[in-house]
């Protein structure tokens, strides 16, 4: 019994330690969707420059919106850094973020920031095909260079894309096709494409990873995610559809009711400078502020991108996804 009592006592001491808040003079709490190593570098650079400590937690886009929503009555973070633009629009629609016009926003083309200043883009990534070189060799097929190529019979059960109901990346595919061809033709195409899909993965970055592991011939995803796989040493080839492709706008927003707004604004301003953009570029992304790109990164100008309307895409999301679920996914 004594032993248990002493254990209980130890635990209580520990518990007290756990609740005592950590004291820090200047800080800002940030949720980030940047990849772990990139986040580390970006925030370290900001800390070094300003002396403001960035306390960051890495969350996927959806997790971040869910967490911001659950915490809305008493927000823990002051800023959301990185993450898919559609997520930022969703957060703004839910009233979770607050507008801020940064003096540095002029560095960013108007197309890539919110006209009401709720969010600002920092870098872009186009939708692309990650092709497993080895797997293509086995199939004796060329890497696809158009949406139409994907429906070739040779790719039967060889393509992975994420489930649009669960992944912003895959929804971007649907939105792109609808904006490109109109709804009817787009869904007819998706039905055709469905025959070649080996599986609809849950997360948006999974198809590219599957291609890297040789699990499928083609994974549909964002180019900057796929370039990272190449730099890690995986043997994949990245191609873009010639008909035109959609893209994501990684963005930043200020959280409504955040506790360190002044510092968050400083971070927001700094995030839109060339200094920060150079760090984004170091991981093969394509920042909107023009900085020299990494070897292997694919400049936006070389890709045929569509004139994308994210606000429209956000509004239509529920309807299009339901339609996809009922017409295509349920019939598998």
């Amino acid at each position: 019994m004594k032993r248990f009592l002493s254990i209980v006592a130890m635990v209580l001491v520990l518990a007290v330690m756990l609740v005592v808040p950590t004291m820090s003079a200047e800080k800002v709490v940030v949720y980030t969707t940047l990849d772990e190593p990139l986040a580390r570098e970006v925030f370290a650079a900001f800390e070094k420059k300003t002396g403001i400590k960035v306390e960051w937690v890495r969350l996927a886009t959806g997790e971040c919106v869910a967490r911001l929503e659950a915490e809305a009555s008493n927000p823990q973070a002051s800023m959301w850094f990185g993450g898919v633009g559609l997520g930022h629009i969703e957060a703004a629609n839910k009233g979770l973020t607050t507008p801020y016009l940064s003096p540095n926003a002029k560095n960013i083309p108007a197309k890539f920031r919110d006209k009401n200043n709720y969010w600002t883009g920092i870098y872009a990534g186009a939708l692309s095909f990650a092709c497993s070189v080895d797997r293509l060799k086995q199939l004796k097929a060329e890497a696809p260079t158009s949406w139409a190529d994907l429906t070739k019979p040779v790719f039967r059960n060889e393509i992975q894309m994420a489930n649009p109901g669960t992944s912003g990346t895959a929804y971007n595919v649907i939105a792109t096709l609808v904006q490109l061809w109109g709804e009817q033709k787009a869904f007819a195409y998706l039905k055709e494409l469905d025959k070649n899909i080996a599986q609809y993965t849950k997360s948006g970055s999974a198809p590219g990873k599957s291609a890297a592991l040789g699990e499928c011939a083609i994974g549909i995803g964002y180019a900057h995610d796929q370039v990272k796989l190449v730099t890690q040493g995986y043997d994949i080839k990245i191609t873009f559809p010639s008909e035109g492709t959609g893209y994501e706008v990684a963005s930043i927003s200020l959280v409504k009711g955040g506790k360190q707004m002044e510092n968050a604004k400083k971070l927001y301003d700094w995030a839109l400078t060339a200094e920060a953009a150079k760090i984004y570029a170091s991981t093969c992304t394509v920042p909107f502020v023009e900085v020299p790109l990494m070897k292997g990164a694919i400049p936006f100008t070389q890709v045929n991108t569509i004139d994308q309307d994210d606000q429209w895409a956000a509004n239509e999301r529920e309807r299009l996804v339901d339609k996809w679920n009922n017409q295509i996914y349920s019939t598998r």
Partner: protein
């Protein structure tokens, strides 16, 4: 011994009044009960209620639209039946494998028992996602075994049967832990006596060992069933077309930004869990399983024929080899540059993992170490109350303690934010909220193990202690706890491991100061830094091993002949 022993039937109200009177006479019991009810209400019921409320009142007004939508969507109803099917199959296979391990170790005298016992516990240490990743790396289209050895490049590794495989491998330890405690506690005299009287081994097994293990078998089936329903890491990676509800719930939160719908899907998972729980309690509570009566007992006659022993050994070894195979991928992955592409040996992943993870590792260990003793102790108290004491609302208490375990982690995480994000209980951003989440989420395994072994211990031992003047607190600490040591140890080990490997709830609760190792591992697998993820997993495995050793020393030796009282 009485296996069938119908309860005397009396009027319910009279029972209740008598119960209340008895309660009033025992202030320690009353205070304990009050404290537990309070804790469970605040840390289990309140967060789950918050989430439930979200699903029935999406905009603050009562509305069943969310549920109506769910039942009108074929892809969602299909996920529901899929979840049930997967849960039932995994629960059955895990219980069978767990029983064979426990039986082999306690009755069939398998060779190398130390090793087999380690192998029965090893799989629970598997970090989430890593096990499935190993499955793909070994058995995928480009897998080391499927393609490398058999030259098959079209093997489909995704789907129900892969899930059953990984869930069985990952969850049979739960069944083993519960059943190990149960088999240890069955008084060997019964079996020996029957054998001496000329019963065949088979009839001893079917009429004594198996019936006496019923509470344990039912408990472990229930636990695995519920674990499988709430499991999301495995189906997330391996399900392929086989959609299950826990994943759909997570994805409604994070993919569709639809909190009410995600909550509703998760709440639906509670119904099968509740049903299984009620069936188990009803079925088990109608019988008596008392065999530990305070007299020492030792096996004198081998229980099984050589053939059965060999069969147990074969099953144990196959399972152990499968476990080792999957682990070697994780371990191997940490020592090569890039699995599958560049096999150059390297130690750089460990350096990177330590640079990135040392702080998270420290806080993870601190939180898990803090949560574990509370979990184990609380679990034993609840198990004791549920089995030994009579008080109104007992069934409800048992069920509520299961609740935190039965809902998918995503919901627990979101519920905890919703419930503890404002004064008086402003806990978000602290380490305490994660600890509390661990305690109330992982307690049920300890409770089930405790219930199963307490049901076999004759209350007369405790009564004797109280008749001799000991208080109920003293009796619990000096008589009951030592008797349920194996169960306590099982509860502690399991809750520690789960606290170290938890992912779905924790992802919503971590903060910069209190980050969690698995959140970090997950982030590494997201960007396919498999080497770093593997290295982090190895750190995790080492920590858990050390913790197991420490716990064994703290709790005391478990190899005491069943029923012998500690001196």
């Amino acid at each position: 011994m009485a296996i069938e022993q119908p309860r005397p039937r009396t009027s319910r109200t009279r029972d209740t009044i008598a119960d209340v009177k008895a309660l009033a006479r025992d202030p320690i019991l009353l205070a304990t009960l009050a404290a537990i009810v309070l804790l469970l209400s605040v840390f289990v019921v309140w967060p789950v209620w918050k989430v439930f409320w979200l699903s029935i009142a999406p905009r603050g007004v009562l509305s069943l639209d969310t549920y109506r939508y769910i039942f009108s969507q074929k892809w969602l109803t299909r996920s529901f039946t899929n979840s049930l099917r997967l849960g039932a199959i995994s629960a059955t296979t895990s219980t069978v494998v767990g029983f064979i391990f426990a039986f082999g170790l306690n009755r069939a005298d398998v060779r190398h028992p130390g090793f087999i016992r380690q192998m029965a516990l090893l799989p629970i240490i598997s970090p989430p996602f890593m096990f499935c990743l190993s499955v793909i790396l070994l058995f995928g289209r480009n897998g080391l075994i499927t393609r490398g050895i058999f030259g098959r490049t079209n093997f489909n590794v995704y789907g129900l049967w892969s899930l059953v495989l990984v869930q069985t491998l990952g969850m049979f330890p739960i069944a083993y832990m519960v059943l190990d405690g149960v088999l240890k506690a069955i008084n060997a005299d019964l079996e020996d006596g029957a054998l001496n009287l000329g019963a065949s081994r088979w009839s001893v097994f079917t009429t004594i060992t198996l019936p006496l293990s019923t509470p344990g078998l039912a408990s472990s089936w229930l636990l695995v069933f519920v674990t499988s329903l709430a499991d999301f890491a495995n189906p997330m990676v391996l399900a392929g077309k086989y959609d299950v509800l826990s994943v759909q719930a997570y994805l409604q939160f994070t993919g569709m930004y639809n909190m009410p719908r995600g909550s509703a899907l998760a709440i639906l998972l509670l119904f099968p869990a509740l049903t299984a729980f009620l069936v188990e309690r009803y079925w088990v509570s109608r019988r008596s399983y008392v065999t530990v009566t305070g007299k020492p007992s030792m096996h004198t006659i081998p229980m099984v024929s050589r053939g059965v022993a060999v069969f147990c050994e074969v099953v144990c070894w196959i399972t152990a080899l499968a476990t080792i195979m999957f682990y070697s991928v994780v371990i191997g992955g940490a020592f090569v540059k890039l699995w599958g592409v560049n096999w150059t040996p390297t130690l750089e992943h460990f350096k990177y993992a330590w640079d990135v993870g040392s702080n998270s590792i420290k806080s993870t260990v601190l939180m898990a170490a803090g949560a574990t003793p509370i979990t184990g102790f609380l679990a034993m108290i609840i198990a004791f109350l549920v089995v030994r004491k009579r008080f109104p609302g007992k069934g409800l208490l048992g069920f509520i303690s299961m609740l935190g375990y039965a809902v998918p982690g995503t919901v627990v995480g979101i519920g905890y934010i919703l419930a503890f994000n404002r004064p008086p209980l402003l806990l978000t951003g602290t380490g305490l909220i994660i600890m509390l989440c661990f305690v109330f989420r992982e307690m049920p395994v300890g409770i089930e193990a405790g219930v199963a072994s307490l049901q076999q211990i004759d209350p007369a031992i405790e009564e004797a202690s109280r008749n001799l003047g000991a208080s109920s607190g003293y009796t619990f600490g000096h008589i009951t706890l030592p008797l349920v040591r194996p169960a306590l140890l099982a509860g502690l080990s399991y809750s520690f491991v789960r606290s170290m490997t938890a992912v779905s709830a924790v992802i919503f609760l971590v903060s910069a100061r209190w980050n969690h190792l698995t959140a970090l591992t997950l982030a590494q697998t997201e960007i396919m830094r498999l080497g770093a993820a593997s290295a982090l997993s190895i750190f995790l495995i080492i920590i858990v091993m050390v913790a197991f050793a420490i716990m064994r020393v703290l709790v005391g030796k478990e190899h005491r002949p069943a029923g012998m009282l500690p001196r």
